[in-house]
Amino acid sequence: MKRFGRRDGQIVGSFDELDRVVLSAVPILIDGVGEVGVDPAAARLQPAVYRDDDARSAEFLRLSAGLIEDGRRADLASFSEALERSDDGVTLSDAEAESWMRVLTTARLVLGARLGIEEDGWERNPDVDVTDPRLVALFVLGRLQEDLVAALSAAA
């Protein structure tokens, strides 16, 4: 069953128990991202924009921090507010759905960084520990994300 679809110009999501458990953990996960140098997730969320110029990259980070961090905060607030009013599902405007899309992305990047995933093809690696809850969450959020992007890509 698809987790997201389009109905009457809005994005409608429907979740099972595991989806809900994972979604409810997303704000804690994102709020818990630590400092660069301590938490590998932090570096992934603010990559150096000038590959050979650390000072200039730091300046870009300083100048763009408002744009990016405020955007992430607004996305997470929108996500949390919609999650709060949801039960087995949720109805989202396109703008809310795009916030969800970015929040799911951020959460997946955090999980991927902490799991040390650096190469394509990790989904098919037989050696991964499928009992690791972070990996389970990464798969669950990936499925939600895939369906959400498909619903958003469908003409309004």
């Binding site: 870009f60 992305t105 650096e118």
Partner: protein, 100 residues
């Protein structure tokens, strides 16, 4: 991440934000790099939304990122390129800037 590509600008830019006024002939490239987490459909969606590209062009650039490890997704004045790179980062895509 994948191996580094592209070329370095031959001269260092001492005052990038001021020099842009006289350096408009040399645009900046916004480069997006492959990463193992972001979904192909999502990357395509972001290229369409942020740059206004057609589905065909966005898909072609996404596939270039996926297969070649990187793609130049936009090119223009520094100020615009930095805003676009920030938009990429807000969407969780790995973007860098380099001289065209």
């Amino acid at each position: 991440m994948t191996a580094r590509g592209g070329t370095l600008a031959p001269e260092r830019i001492e005052t990038p934000f001021e020099s842009e006024n006289v350096a408009t002939a040399r645009p900046w490239n916004v480069v997006v790099w492959n990463d193992p987490i972001n979904l192909m459909s999502y990357v395509t969606y972001v290229f369409r939304k942020v740059f206004g590209y057609s589905k065909a062009k966005a898909t072609r650039l996404m596939l270039q990122v996926h297969h070649e490890g990187r793609a130049i997704v936009s090119s223009g004045p520094l100020e615009r390129a930095e805003i676009e790179a920030a938009a990429m980062h807000h969407h969780g895509l790995w973007a860098t800037l380099e001289r065209a």
